[in-house]
C-alpha cells in the first residue's frame, strides 16, 4: 500500500538541516529508493517561497507566503510503498531518530497517511 509521509513542524518551519542531518537523510533515502520502497519525496522550501490558493464562499483567493497565521508547516514529504502501517511507523521512527541524532532540539511530527487504492 502507498503511504504519504508528511513532516510537520511549528512555524516558521524546520530550521535548515545540519550537514550531518542532510548526509544521514541522503543515505537513508538512497537505501529506501534502492529497496524500491521510496517512490518520491523531498524537502520543501519555507512558506515565504510558496503561496496558498483557497476556495471559500465561492471565491478564490491567492495568498503569497509567508503565512503568519499558520499553526503548522509542512517541511517535506515522501511517498512510500509499505506492506503495513507498522512498517510505515517504523520507517517514520527511523527518520525522526536521524533528526534526534544529528540536529539537537529539533521537534516535529511525521504524519503517515495511507493513500486510497484504486
Amino acid at each position: 500500500m502507498r503511504y504519504m509521509c508528511l513532516i510537520v513542524t511549528a512555524p516558521p518551519g524546520p530550521a535548515a538541516p545540519t550537514p550531518e542531518l542532510t548526509e544521514a537523510m541522503n543515505v537513508l533515502a538512497n537505501r529506501e529508493i534502492q529497496a524500491g520502497r521510496m517512490l518520491g519525496g523531498g524537502g520543501l522550501l519555507p512558506m515565504d517561497a510558496g503561496a496558498r490558493v483557497t476556495l471559500a464562499g465561492g471565491k478564490f483567493t491567492v495568498l503569497d507566503g509567508p503565512m503568519v497565521e499558520a499553526k503548522e508547516v509542512i517541511g517535506g514529504y515522501a511517498l512510500f510503498e509499505f506492506a503495513s502501517k507498522e512498517e510505515a511507523v517504523a520507517s517514520a521512527v527511523e527518520f525522526l531518530q536521524l533528526h534526534k541524532d544529528h540536529q539537537p532540539g529539533w521537534e516535529g511530527t511525521c504524519e503517515i497517511r495511507p493513500m486510497i487504492e484504486h
Binding site: A29, N30, G36, L39, G40
Partner: protein, 422 residues
C-alpha cells in the same frame, strides 16, 4: 499586478490550457495548423484583455470561446465554397447558439488528438529543426520568443521557421491525419527523433555559452511522458523516456560551481538524482517487457543504466557497455556509435584496443567536423603515454567544438597533455 506579472500569469494559464484548447480546435476544424493559429489568436486576445479585467474565472472556456469566434470570423471571411469549411462553420454556429457546454467539450479524453498533434508537428516531410520548433510550439505551448531563445536564433527567424513549416503541412494536405499500421512505426521514429533532439539541445547545448539548458530538457521529458501515456505499447517510447530520465539524473553533477563541464567518470555520484534513476530504470524495464530490448533508444538507455548502477566510476561494467554498443552498432550502424564503442572497449580492454577502433574511423565523412573524434583519440593517446600526439588531438578537438565551455575543457586537457599529465 504590474504588466510583467500579468504577462507571466497569463502565460502560465496558457501553458495549462493550451493542450486542451488546440486539440479541441483541431478536432473541430480538422486542421492542425489552423487550430494552432487560432489558439495563438486567443493568447493574443488574452494578453490584451486580461491585464485590465483580471484572469477570468474559467480561463479555458474564455480562451475556447475566443478561439471559436475567431474561427468563425476566419471561415466566413475565407472562400466558403469549400464544403469542409462550410460544414465546420455551420457546426460551430449551431454550437454557439446552443450555448455550448465548454466544460464537457474540454473534458473529453485528448489522448488521440494529442497523438495526432504530435504526429503532425513531427511530420518527416519537415526538417528536423522545423519539427522541433513546431513541436515546442504546438505540443508544449512555447511562445515564439521562448523557441527563439531555446535555439539561439532571432524571434523573426523562429517565427519564419514556424510559419513555413505550417504552410508546408497545409499545402501538402497533411493538416489533419493520423498514421496507422506500418506507417505509424516509421512516423513514431520521426517523433522520437525530434523529442531526443530537443532533449539534447538542452542537455549538451551545441552552441552558446551555457553547457546545459534545463528548460529544454524538461520540455523533452514532458513530451516523453506524454508519448508513453498515449502510446503505452510502444517500447521505443519507453526507451527514449528511460534514456532521457537516466541522462537527466546526472544534471547536478555535470557542471562544477563555475559552470564548467565535469565528465561522467569524474562526477560526484552523490549528486545523481536517485529517484530519477529509478524512474529511468522502471521505464527501461517496461520497454524490455514490451519486447523492445534491442531498440535504438532502449539500447542507449541500457548503456546509461550501466553507468547509473555503478556505485563508483571504477565499478563501471565496461565489458557490458562495450557489448551493448556492439549491438547498437548492428541495429543502427553509425560512426558515432563506433566511436562510443571505442571508448568502452578502451576501458574494458585497454587504450590500445580502443585506439584501433578510433583509427579505423579517421576517414569517416560523418565525423569530419565532429570534435569528439579527436577528443576520444586524445584521451586514448594520453593513456598510452603518447603525450605530444594527445595534445595535438585535444587542440584539434577544441578548434572544432561549438560550445564555449566544452572548448575550454578541451584546451585544458591539451595543456595537461603537453605537460605529460594523465
Amino acid at each position: 499586478m504590474n504588466d510583467a506579472e500579468a504577462h507571466r500569469a497569463i502565460l502560465a494559464v496558457w501553458r495549462v490550457e493550451h493542450p486542451r484548447l488546440i486539440t479541441s480546435l483541431a478536432r473541430m476544424l480538422r486542421d492542425v495548423p489552423l487550430a494552432e493559429e487560432l489558439t495563438q489568436d486567443a493568447l493574443v486576445a488574452a494578453l490584451e484583455k486580461w491585464p485590465a479585467t483580471g484572469v477570468p474565472e474559467r480561463p479555458s472556456a474564455w480562451l475556447m470561446a475566443t478561439a471559436k469566434h475567431r474561427a468563425l470570423d476566419r471561415l466566413r471571411r475565407g472562400p466558403m465554397l469549400e464544403r469542409k469549411h462550410g460544414m465546420v462553420a455551420r457546426e460551430l454556429e449551431t454550437e454557439q447558439r446552443a450555448m455550448p457546454d465548454f466544460d464537457s467539450a474540454l473534458d473529453d479524453d485528448i489522448g488521440d488528438e494529442m497523438l495526432r498533434l504530435i504526429f503532425t508537428a513531427c511530420h518527416p516531410l519537415l526538417s528536423r529543426e522545423a519539427r522541433a520548433a513546431l513541436a515546442l510550439r504546438m505540443v508544449c505551448g512555447l511562445t515564439t520568443d521562448e523557441i527563439a531563445r531555446a535555439f539561439l536564433m532571432s524571434e523573426t527567424a523562429a517565427a519564419q521557421r514556424i510559419v513555413r513549416a505550417k504552410r508546408t503541412l497545409s499545402e501538402s494536405g497533411l493538416a489533419y491525419e493520423t498514421p496507422r499500421g506500418e506507417e505509424r512505426a516509421a512516423r513514431l521514429a520521426s517523433v522520437l527523433e525530434v523529442v531526443y533532439l530537443i532533449f539534447n539541445e538542452g542537455y549538451t547545448a551545441a552552441r552558446g555559452d551555457d553547457w546545459q539548458r534545463p528548460q529544454l530538457c524538461n520540455e523533452a521529458l514532458r513530451l516523453g511522458r506524454v508519448l508513453t501515456a498515449i502510446a503505452p505499447d510502444e517500447p521505443e517510447a519507453h526507451g527514449l523516456l528511460a534514456l532521457m530520465e537516466l541522462n537527466a539524473s546526472r544534471t547536478a553533477a555535470r557542471t562544477d560551481a563555475a559552470g564548467e563541464p565535469v565528465l561522467i567518470l569524474d562526477q560526484d555520484r552523490g549528486l545523481w538524482d536517485p529517484l530519477q534513476i529509478q524512474r529511468g530504470l522502471r521505464a527501461l524495464k517496461r520497454a524490455r517487457d514490451l519486447g523492445g530490448a534491442s531498440g535504438f533508444y532502449v539500447l542507449q538507455a541500457a548503456i546509461i543504466a550501466r553507468h547509473a548502477q555503478a556505485r563508483t566510476a571504477a565499478d563501471t561494467d565496461w565489458l557490458g557497455i562495450a557489448a551493448l554498443y556492439a549491438e547498437l552498432a548492428r541495429v543502427a550502424p553509425s560512426p558515432v556509435v563506433q566511436l562510443n564503442r571505442a571508448v568502452a572497449v578502451g576501458m574494458a580492454e585497454g587504450p590500445a584496443a580502443g585506439l584501433a577502433i578510433v583509427e579505423a574511423l579517421a576517414d569517416a565523412p560523418a565525423l569530419k567536423a565532429y570534435h569528439l573524434l579527436p577528443a576520444v583519440r586524445g584521451d586514448l593517446l594520453l593513456r598510452l603515454g603518447r603525450f605530444e600526439e594527445a595534445r595535438a588531438a585535444f587542440v584539434a578537438a577544441a578548434d572544432m567544438a561549438g560550445n564555449r565551455r566544452e572548448e575550454a575543457l578541451l584546451r585544458r586537457r591539451a595543456a595537461e597533455a603537453g605537460r605529460g599529465v594523465t
